[in-house]
């Protein structure tokens, strides 16, 4: 059964699973050195030059699965020895160039960087080239390629560069922890630190909800995940791990939509605060606009706060597609509410570390939120929900939203806003393409994911935001 998009994810998962397996049994410290051999058992290398390098890299993965480098505040970490030091040459003409007559490459180049050799083959003068890529797009043979590192190409905020020893280096002052590089690095050399050990410890010490209760808060994008089983079975699986119950982060999204609608009407211009990578991006790249960030906590933090209000001893764990959430929960304003964060990848590893076959489990139920809270998981959902929030509260304010799909679109909108030429009064920012369903912590990223989220939204018992949050109001 196919659980992941890539073999890199599968490898990461196997390490997480083995670490978790030992942790449940309190055997991690004594058996930790066995893990590389469990993952790389044979004598013939399958991934790298030799099994010793493979095992050395697995050892590094084990460290990240156990929380990673504590001295690095970023949850996104480079595994130096796993980085294959890909070429960084930029646009280059390959041997596929046939030395044609047309010279479209030359014509289209804005800098006159294309010259021709004795056999009429094209060359790119690197002192002139600005890496615009137009020559590559017009070559009839596709002979011009962009030798850019996949990590650098994935990182739209330009936080990745080459270090002196040629491995990838992350500039924490620019990184927004979205995890795009993790998903794109073909060697799995960038990874997100895992807090599964904290979660396992939390569950064990709860002694079956006797000492305190551990609540799982799951992101609505779960509807596009674990497709080999039913959502209700995933819920039962989460409870079987030892969580007291499962609550939808989407109910927090309903609360946010309701409050954010009122906030928007009051302030007249707002940027959303749901996506932690987007919020981080504004603070780092557009500090002048930081005052326009909605003051609402994110949906996950909002529902976690509510849970802790009803049960002060509660522990809360957010389970989602997001690596940036692993930064968010450590922030001062969120720390009191969310105790830990894991991804869907890590949830899969936890299931298998306990040998739970969720496909054979009974279906539990999951129904707290409305349609609108649930569609937060995909780009455009938040804007729809805020418009609905205005309508349900009879607020006379016309929302003109721009829904930014991916951090590049966010950048465009923020640039316009900073120059006061944006034709909108609400920026919905989603750092990942497609919204949360494109998150780096997803097991799979598919084209049907958006439809899955909408279907899940339509299945909600509550049809309006007001109805969904009415149970939360206190007299």
């Amino acid at each position: 059964m196919r659980k992941f998009d890539t073999k890199v994810q599968h490898l990461k998962y196997k390490v997480l699973r083995e670490v978790a397996r030992l942790a449940w049994d309190d055997r991690l410290l004594e058996n930790i050195t066995d893990i590389p051999k469990i993952i790389v058992p044979g004598k013939i290398p399958t991934m790298r030059c030799c099994i010793y390098k493979e095992r050395a890299i697995v050892t590094e993965r084990v460290k990240i699965a156990m929380g990673g480098d504590k001295s690095n505040p970023n949850v996104i970490e480079v595994i130096d020895i796993a980085c294959d030091e890909c070429p960084v040459g930029g646009y280059e003409v390959t041997a596929a160039c046939r030395g044609c007559l047309a010279h479209r490459c030359e014509d289209v180049c804005p800098r006159g960087a294309i010259t021709f050799g004795p056999n009429h083959e094209a060359h790119i003068d690197k002192t002139k080239c600005v890496e615009c890529g137009r020559c590559a797009s017009v070559c009839p043979y596709g002979a011009i390629l962009d030798f850019k590192r996949p990590c650098e190409r994935a990182c739209k905020v330009k936080a990745i560069s080459m270090s002196e020893d040629k491995t990838a280096a992350i500039d924490n002052s620019k990184c927004i922890s979205c995890g795009a590089c993790i998903y794109q690095c073909p060697f799995g050399a960038i990874s997100d630190k895992s807090f599964i050990l904290d979660v396992i410890d939390m569950i064990k010490k709860s002694e079956g909800s006797k000492k305190y209760k551990v609540y799982a808060i799951i992101a609505p994008s779960i509807s596009s995940q674990f497709k080999y089983a039913k959502l209700g079975q995933v819920v039962t699986g989460i409870k079987s791990l030892g969580f007291h119950t499962v609550v939808e982060a989407a109910l927090g999204a309903d609360m946010v939509a309701y409050a954010e609608a009122a906030e928007l009407a009051e302030k007249g211009f707002l940027t959303s605060s749901c996506c932690p990578a987007f919020v981080d991006y504004i603070k780092k790249q557009f500090p002048a606009l930081a005052g326009n960030i909605s003051h609402n906590l994110s949906p996950a933090a909002t529902i976690a706060k509510y849970i802790k209000g009803t049960d002060p001893n509660a522990k809360t764990v957010f389970i989602g597609p997001c690596t940036a959430k692993k930064m968010e929960f450590q922030k001062e304003e969120v720390r009191p509410y969310i105790d830990s964060v894991i991804t869907f990848e890590e949830l899969q590893a936890l299931f298998d570390s306990r040998d739970l076959d969720i496909t054979s489990m009974e279906e539990g139920v999951l129904d707290n939120a409305s349609y609108y809270g649930r569609i937060f998981a995909r780009c455009g959902g938040l804007a729809d929900a805020v418009a609905e929030g205005l309508k349900e509260q009879n607020i006379d304010f016309q929302v003109k939203a721009v829904s930014c799909d991916g951090i590049e679109a966010c950048r465009t909108a923020l640039l316009k806003a900073s120059k006061k030429v944006l034709d909108a009064n609400f920026i919905e920012g989603m750092a990942c393409i497609g919204g949360c369903i494109g998150g780096a912590g997803c097991l799979t990223h598919g084209e049907k994911n958006k439809a899955e989220v909408d279907k899940y939204g339509q299945e909600a018992y509550e049809k309006t935001i007001s109805d969904a949050i009415s149970v939360l109001k206190k007299d």
Binding site: S209, Y215, V235, H244, T245, V246, V247, E248, I307, T310, D311, G364, V365, L366, D367, N368, Y461, E462, D467, S470, V471, L472, K473, K474, D475
Partner: protein, 79 residues
């Protein structure tokens, strides 16, 4: 006096919103807002018997249909 209604998924589907709304109405209708605290919680671990409601520490199983009866028999006489 504290009434806690389970608003977890299972009870929600069995009508915890309707139960909550009725209790809210009954409490305010009887002018008991300062005497009765109405709260929500996620899952009391008794999903088969939802909608789960506790009156102080005693557990009740309600439906939207018998909420008024519960209020009149179990709550009003003890306020």
């Amino acid at each position: 006096m504290k009434i806690t209604v389970c608003i977890g998924s299972s009870c929600h589907l069995k009508g915890s919103r309707q139960v909550t709304e009725q209790l809210q109405y009954l409490i305010s209708h009887n002018n008991l807002k300062d005497k009765i605290e109405l709260a929500g919680t996620f899952c009391m671990g008794n999903c088969q018997n939802g909608v789960c409601v506790t009156l102080d520490d005693k557990l009740y199983s309600l439906t939207p249909e018998n909420t008024t009866e519960f209020f009149e028999k179990e709550v009003l006489p003890h306020v």
